[in-house]
C-alpha cells in the first residue's frame, strides 16, 4: 500500500514519526531521573565526593539481617506455595470441571481490584477476633502462629492471594495450549499417579508460566510494604522505612538495591513468559493441534 501514497504524504509521515519520538524521550527522562537521582545520592556526597558509607552503614549495624532473612523466607515460600496450589487447581479444572473454569477465573481475578489495604483491614479484624478468645485458646494460638515474627505465615498467604490475578492467567494460558487430557491419560496408563504426572509431565511443559509466576511472586513479595507494615511485621521494606530516620543515605542505598532487584526479577518474569512461553507452546501446537485442523480444511 505504501507505494500508492503520494510523496508528500510519505514526507508528512516522516515528520509524524519524528514528533512521535519526542514524548518517548520525555518519558525515558521521567523514568530515569528518580532512579539515577537515588543512585547518585547513594554513592556521592553533596560536594560530589565518592562515598560508600551508605553501603557499609547497612552492613555495620546487624539490624538488617533479621528483616532481610524474614523477607527472603516469606518471598520464597510465597512463590513455592503459589505454584504448588495454582498448578494442580488449574489442571484439575481443565481436566475434570471445565464449568468451574469461569468461577476459578473470577475468584483469582478479584484480588486484583480489592486493594491490599482493604484485604489487610479485613485480615486484622479476623486476627483480632481470633485473639479475643483469650490466652491458651485455639484462636489465640492460631493468631500467634500466623503472625509469628520468625515465620509470618499470614504474609505468605496474603502474598499468594495478591499475586494470584497475574500468575493465574499466565498458568491458565500456558495449560490451555497443552493437550492436557492426552498427557494425563497416557501418563496414568503408564502407571503414574496424579502427583507424578503434575511434576514430571505437566510442569516441564509450562516452564515459561511457572518461571514467570515464581519471579513475579518473589519480586512482589520482597517489596511489599502495606500488609507487613499494617500487621507490624518487620520485613525488608518496613525496615527500610524505619531506617530512613536514622541513616538516610543507607536507606536510599538499600532502596536502590531493592528496586533494582525487583525490577530485574520482574523483567526476567516478563522475558521468561514470552521466551519459554513461545517455545513450549509452539511444539504441541505444531505437532498435535495443527494437523487435524489442516485435514479439516482440506476435506
Amino acid at each position: 500500500m505504501a507505494q500508492q501514497l503520494k510523496p508528500g504524504n510519505r514526507e508528512r509521515h516522516g515528520v509524524t514519526k519524528f514528533f512521535a519520538w519526542l514524548p518517548l524521550v520525555a518519558l525515558a527522562i521521567f523514568i530515569l531521573t528518580p532512579l539515577l537521582s537515588s543512585l547518585t545520592y547513594s554513592f556521592f556526597r553533596s560536594d560530589g565526593s565518592f562515598t560508600t558509607s551508605g553501603l557499609t552503614g547497612l552492613a555495620d549495624s546487624g539490624r538488617i539481617v533479621a528483616p532481610l532473612t524474614r523477607s527472603l523466607i516469606v518471598s520464597v515460600l510465597a512463590a513455592v506455595v503459589l505454584i504448588a496450589t495454582v498448578v494442580p487447581a488449574v489442571v484439575a479444572v481443565h481436566l475434570w470441571a471445565p464449568k468451574m473454569r469461569s468461577v476459578l477465573s473470577i475468584l483469582c481475578t478479584l484480588p486484583l481490584v480489592v486493594p491490599a489495604i482493604a484485604i489487610v483491614a479485613g485480615l486484622s479484624a479476623v486476627l483480632r477476633n481470633l485473639a479475643s478468645h483469650g490466652r491458651g485458646s485455639l484462636g489465640m494460638e492460631l493468631n500467634a502462629i500466623l503472625q509469628s515474627q520468625d515465620l509470618p505465615l499470614v504474609l505468605v498467604g496474603t502474598y499468594v492471594v495478591l499475586c494470584l490475578p497475574f500468575t493465574y492467567r499466565s498458568i491458565d494460558a500456558g495449560l490451555s495450549t497443552l493437550p492436557l487430557r492426552t498427557l494425563y491419560e497416557s501418563s496414568s496408563i503408564l502407571g503414574a499417579r496424579m502427583g507424578t504426572t503434575l511434576w514430571q509431565v505437566v510442569m516441564p511443559n509450562i516452564r515459561g508460566p511457572i518461571m514467570f509466576s515464581a519471579f513475579f511472586t518473589f519480586a512482589l513479595s520482597i517489596a511489599e510494604y502495606t500488609v507487613a507494615a499494617t500487621l507490624s511485621i518487620n520485613t525488608l521494606p518496613v525496615f527500610l522505612n524505619t531506617l530512613s530516620s536514622t541513616n538516610f543515605r543507607g536507606s536510599i542505598t538499600l532502596s536502590v538495591l531493592l528496586n533494582l532487584t525487583t525490577w530485574l526479577l520482574l523483567a526476567s518474569a516478563t522475558l521468561s513468559a514470552s521466551r519459554f512461553g513461545h517455545r513450549s507452546t509452539a511444539e504441541p501446537e505444531a505437532n498435535v493441534a495443527n494437523e487435524p485442523r489442516k485435514e479439516a480444511e482440506i476435506s
Binding site: 514524548p23 499468594v160 528496586n259
Partner: protein
C-alpha cells in the same frame, strides 16, 4: 450432573479433582474470603448499649461523612481523578508514539519496562522521588521554577509520583488498541479526502475511546488503593487519604474503637474497586468488538 449412566464414573474422577483444588481453595478462603467477610461484618457492628454486646447498624458508614474521613474521601477522589486523567493523556500520547515509531527496540523495551513499572508503587519509589524532587532534591529547583508552590508532600507531589506507575499502566493497557487500528481505515480516510485530524476525530478516537476510558478507570482504582508510597511520603495526618486513614484507624483502634470505621473505609474501597472492575469489563468488551474483528 445427576444423570444416571455416567454417575459412577464421574464420582470416581471427581475425588482427585477436589484434592487438587483444595489447597488453592483453602488459601483463597483463609486469606481472601474470610478477611473480606470479616471486614464487612465488622463494619456493620457497633458496640451495643450494654458492654460486651454488639448490634448491627450503619453507624460506621455514617461516621465516614464527618471530620477527617470525609476530607480523606474527598482528597482520595480528587487525587485519583487527577492522577488518572494526567496519566491517561500522557500515557495515551506515549502509546500512540510507540505505535507510530514502529521500532523493534522500543517495542521490546516497552513490553518489559511497562509491565515492570506498572507494578511499582512501593517504598523505594517514594524514596527515589524524595531524593529527586523532595525538599532538598536534586531537581526541586527545576520544578519550583515552573510552579513555585510545588512540594512533593502535597497533592501535586503525589500526582507526579503516581505517574511513575500509572503512565506505564496506561501504555500497557492501551498500546494493543493503538496497534490494532487498521491501516485500511487510515487509507479509506485518506482516499475519501480526510486528513489525520479527521481520521482521529471520526475514526481513531471513537474506536479506541472505550479502551482509553477503561484504562482510565483501572488507573483511578489503582491510584485510589495505593498505600505504600503515599504512606512513606505523607505519613499519617498531614494529607488525609482513604488508604492512610484505614492504616491509621487500625493502628489506633485499640484505644479509640476506630476499628469499625476502618472496616467501613475498607468496604468503601472494595466497593469502588468492584464497580471499577465491572465497568472496565464492559468497556473492554465494547472495544474488542471493533478491534478484534
Amino acid at each position: 450432573m445427576i444423570s444416571a449412566p455416567t454417575d459412577t464414573r464421574r464420582r470416581s474422577s471427581l475425588s482427585p479433582a477436589w484434592a487438587a483444588l483444595a489447597p488453592l481453595t483453602i488459601i483463597l478462603a483463609l486469606f481472601f474470603v474470610v478477611p473480606i467477610g470479616g471486614m464487612v461484618v465488622t463494619s456493620l457492628l457497633v458496640t451495643g448499649s450494654s458492654p460486651g454486646t454488639s448490634a448491627f447498624s450503619t453507624d460506621n458508614f455514617t461516621a465516614l461523612g464527618s471530620g477527617s474521613r470525609s476530607m480523606a474521601l474527598k482528597n482520595s477522589l480528587l487525587l485519583s481523578f487527577t492522577a488518572a486523567s494526567v496519566a491517561a493523556v500522557f500515557g495515551g500520547i506515549c502509546a500512540w508514539a510507540i505505535s507510530t515509531v514502529k521500532s523493534t527496540v522500543v517495542d521490546s523495551l516497552t513490553a518489559v519496562i511497562s509491565s515492570v513499572l506498572a507494578n511499582d508503587g512501593g517504598v523505594p519509589l517514594a524514596f527515589s522521588f524524595i531524593v529527586a524532587v523532595g525538599n532538598t532534591g536534586y531537581f526541586t529547583a527545576l520544578i519550583t521554577a515552573v510552579d513555585s508552590t510545588f512540594t512533593l508532600y502535597s497533592v501535586k507531589g503525589l500526582i507526579l509520583m503516581y505517574q511513575y506507575f500509572l503512565i506505564p499502566t496506561m501504555i500497557l493497557l492501551t498500546l494493543p488498541s493503538f496497534v490494532a487500528l487498521k491501516q485500511q481505515w487510515r487509507e479509506a480516510n485518506t482516499s475519501l479526502g480526510g486528513n489525520s485530524w479527521t481520521f482521529w476525530r471520526r475514526v481513531g478516537l471513537p474506536v479506541i475511546s472505550p479502551a482509553l476510558l477503561g484504562a482510565w478507570l483501572l488507573m483511578f482504582g489503582s491510584a485510589f488503593g495505593t498505600h505504600a508510597s503515599a504512606a512513606v511520603l505523607i505519613g499519617t495526618g498531614a494529607f488525609p487519604l482513604i488508604p492512610l486513614e484505614i492504616a491509621g484507624q487500625l493502628a489506633g483502634s485499640a484505644a479509640t474503637g476506630g476499628e469499625g470505621v476502618a472496616m467501613a473505609l475498607g468496604v468503601t474501597t472494595g466497593v469502588i474497586a468492584v464497580i471499577v472492575l465491572i465497568a472496565f469489563n464492559a468497556l473492554t468488551k465494547r472495544s474488542a468488538k471493533w478491534l478484534n474483528s
